[in-house]
Amino acid sequence: MCKFIKVGMADMQSCIHPCVLTTLGLGSCVGIALYDPVKKVAGLAHIMLPSSQQARNNSNIAKFADTAIVKLVEDMVAIGADRSKIVAKLAGGAQMFSFNNTSEMLRIGARNVAASKEMLSLLNIPVISEDTGGNYGRTIEIHSEDGKLVIKTIGHGIKEI
């Protein structure tokens, strides 16, 4: 039976085939989907902020790109993933509102994407595809069968990466 697991905001989950991990309504947040194609282990994190270093309260590690990725890899390895086989797909990091000024709050999407990539490269996890930026929200699903990431939007179609 295929398990369907929902990942909330500032949350992460991992699972072993057969399962689907989904997170709904990504805006400036980034969905980091990790996958080991050999052992068919999938992981998904929904991060809100780039770095735990700048935050006043960093107890929730799933909230930050840097800490969430490290923990998600650990969780996946714990249920059988091979650390060296893990690949990544990214989605989200949009700018929902386009004010003229470039206040820090509104550029958060781009910073979340950059921080996620930086952490992944530090861990030698290749980013094999991404659908980031833009000004629209995304719902994503990672399928443990083949690691495909399905991205649904309002007005920007459905795609698979």
Partner: protein, 207 residues
Amino acid sequence: MVTDINNLNNVHLDVLKEIGNIGAGNAATALAKLLNRKIDMDVPRVKIMDFKDVSDTLGGAELPVVGILLEVNGDLTGNIMFILEQQAASLLVNMLMGMEPSKEHNEFSELEISALKEIGNILAGSYLSSLSALTNLKIVPSVPDLAIDMAGAILSVPAIEFGKVGDTVLYIETEFSEGSDKVVGHFFLVPDFDTYDVLLKTLGVNC
């Protein structure tokens, strides 16, 4: 000093509720004048939520909504957001422009978007000016910006601000509706964390 949203006591919450009441009351009056119709308003709620519950608060993370966001500057800083379900926004715009409600409400024309921004501007403006009159604080709203998208994606914008300081989100939410047509709108006042003290202090509440 308010150090954690979870430490707010009942007096603080009552004051924040009253702010929502006065602000949204004025906004509802402005809307009633604009449309020349009677507008009903609910008692405001102060919601303290975990992040995981945020996206579902308006009836589903994927529900298409219209969000109108204004930045707030001056003595009080933060954001104010007005959210309407897409269908409600369509009804509202038709009422305002005196058009027959169209069945196709998936796409808004440029004129309709402009009208919606103006509605957001007037409502948020009257909300904030009543708050300013009450507190004697200087409150300057920015020009409005509008996004039509999934509720989860829109609500994540203020949620991220809270994410910088804690693991919960505080919204002052007020709902209002227009008689039979059921135009339900939600106001979210999201003061920057640092300005809670300013807000509560000017209203005579010891933090």
